[in-house]
């Protein structure tokens, strides 16, 4: 399909003379292509000094209603890791639907990141590259996302379950009157009905639910960082970068918004090699001091389960699990943590898991390589003493 970007077209009319078939005319001082006559020879694309005419390659014909679109998130110009993970899962879904994987990204100076998205699997990238768009603003981003989805009509739209993604996706879903499933741990296409199967842990863990959006479109879902596999970038992959032009003035672009960076958060659990984590069984903030000693001894970081955070035994930044951080250490020692589905989802990437728990039937032992059946309050001091000697 041939398209003229009316915003880029200056009305120079060079293309008129270039067309061997006389398919181009000027309508309101902009080039207009008669698609009945056009043979997609590309002569006009080459001659246009403003790059306003494009031809979509045959292999990336948009299959309306079936395509997969992901929101690629940039933070200060850097791509969020989860966005690349979404490309990995999105590519598989698009293949199963016999459709194309699209990504849209909002910000400034997006050329380099657009290329990176293609190398990670995006077939068409739609950058919305305008001054003032670097900083996330709910109203502006919602308006842009809805415009893109309305014009592209994808069957599936995926967002990372990040601070921005969790702010944006529900707003978009409500505006488009469609379904949204949070924090999916598995996404697949039903082979018969060809609809998206969105599986997530629910009711505080231990139970999985598969959610569908039977009749509304697009089918929307969010995915936590670290849950899906990160695709290896392949620089030989090619795709189309198709800047998206907003047809309506941007809403809320001048609203005050400032991002303050905090070093404290930069020390993420995600990069720790050894993590000693505690849950309900630790019993007190003092218990966490002991875990801290053990972590120091092993050269690791201390972390907590959701229960421990809710009881304020440890700060929220150190929460591991689906609602906290996903971690991938060499060693994860779970102390007094029963191990809900959500907690286990957060330690999927751990190489070795060791557990200490009084309940021999605690789910954590099914994830653990080895463990001790016992009270952490008794075991940890013994462990510290033994490691010291």
């Amino acid at each position: 399909m041939i398209a003229v970007d009316v915003d880029a077209c200056t009305g120079c009319a060079l293309c008129l003379g270039s067309c061997p078939f006389g398919a181009i005319s000027m309508v309101r001082e902009k080039a207009s292509v008669d698609r009945e006559i056009c043979t997609l020879c590309g002569a006009c694309v080459e001659i246009c000094p403003d790059g306003a005419i494009s031809i979509k390659k045959a292999d990336i014909i948009s299959s309306e209603g079936k395509d997969v679109l992901i929101f690629a998130e940039q933070r200060g110009g850097e791509l969020a890791r989860v966005s690349l993970e979404l490309l990995g899962v999105g590519r598989g879904l698009a293949t199963d639907c016999g459709s194309t994987l699209h990504a849209f990204i909002i910000g400034e100076n997006l050329q380099v990141v657009s290329e990176k998205l293609i190398h990670c699997g995006a077939q068409v990238v739609h950058p919305v590259d305008l001054p003032g768009l670097s900083d996330y603003r709910t109203s502006t981003y919602t308006q842009i996302a809805c415009s893109i989805i309305t014009r592209l009509r994808p069957g599936i739209v995926l967002f990372g379950a990040t601070a921005r993604g969790r702010d944006l996706a529900p707003r978009v879903a409500q505006r488009l009157n469609t379904g949204l499933t949070a924090d999916c741990t598995e996404l697949s296409i039903d082979p018969v009905e060809k609809i998206l199967l969105q599986t997530r842990p629910t009711f505080g863990g231990n139970i999985m639910a598969t959610i569908i959006t039977p009749s509304r479109r697009p089918q929307m879902a969010t995915v936590r960082e670290g849950v899906m596999e990160l695709p290896e970038p392949d620089v030989t992959l090619t795709g189309l970068v198709k800047p998206f032009a907003m047809e309506t003035p941007l809403e809320g672009i001048h609203e005050f918004c400032e991002v303050i960076h905090e070093k404290r958060r930069a020390v993420t659990l995600g990069k720790a090699k050894i993590i000693v984590a505690g849950g309900r069984g630790v019993g007190s903030p003092q218990g966490f001091e002991l875990l801290g000693q053990l972590a120091d001894l092993l050269g690791g970081e201390v972390a907590g389960s959701r229960v421990a955070v809710e009881k304020q035994w440890i700060e929220r930044e150190r929460q591991v699990g689906q609602t906290g951080s996903a971690v991938a250490p060499d060693l994860y020692i779970a102390c007094g943590i029963s191990g809900s589905v959500q907690h286990r989802a957060g330690i999927k990437g751990a190489r070795v898991v060791a557990a200490i728990n009084t309940d021999p039937d605690a789910p954590i032992f099914h994830r653990a390589n080895f463990g001790i059946v016992g009270d952490v309050r008794e075991i940890i001091p013994l462990l510290i003493a033994a490691l010291k000697s």
Binding site: A182, I211, T213, H366, I372, L387
Partner: protein, 263 residues
Amino acid sequence: MKIIVCVKQVPDTNDVKTDVETGRIIREGVVSMVNPDDRHAMEEALRLRQKHGGSVIALSMGPMQAKNALMQMLAMGADEGYLLCDPLFAGSDTWATAYALGTCIQHLGLPDVILCGRQATDGDTAQVGPQLAEYLGIPQVTQVRAVVEHGAGFRVEAFMEEGYRVVKVAPPLLLTVSSECNQPRYPNMIQIVQAHRKKKVTVLSAADIGALAEFSGLNGSPTRVKRVFVPAPPPKGELFDGPPHEAVEAFIMKLKEYHLVPS
């Protein structure tokens, strides 16, 4: 300043059981509580009322027993409680919940500030807040950790992966409050008794607020639960259940085996 706080009653456990035969969640015998983040939302509302005057309404949607959650909010200090309760709302997903709450808020009158908890411990979606803001067409800030008065509006700090962002917003607006924001007060016996004596929870039906059946409950929900299942667990790891000192010794041997501590 008129404030509405949205409250959810959630099971007080992370260990919900399912009926293996039907895949249904067993709710009988499960103790309920007010969703923890919602208590922080109420605390913030009470703080705003103290500063600006006005009233605080606690609003919940759920079964009749969710009245208990609202009574707790009244004891904390809310002026009025409203429970949206109708079989028509059963099976609502987050879209339909936002529709029901939004329709109810329009019926009660749009307040200056709507406060929600960051997320609920049962569904964990964090979606209803922003969806409600969108339904009402008002701005939102999610995962708020501090609210500071600023001119006619607020200067709000909200969680971001890099640290936090500062947003300036003016009413009407919706905030989802995280636990870092404040320390919720606990009502004393007198406040609990007073709430039961002097304050009341008004129960509203779908008809009362003019909610339409086609947008409500399971019928109005864009999503469906196709299947609920308990995943088959992988086999257990090697367990040491002997005397503590022996278990610790075996544990350290394992760490050495995996080259996680120097041997």
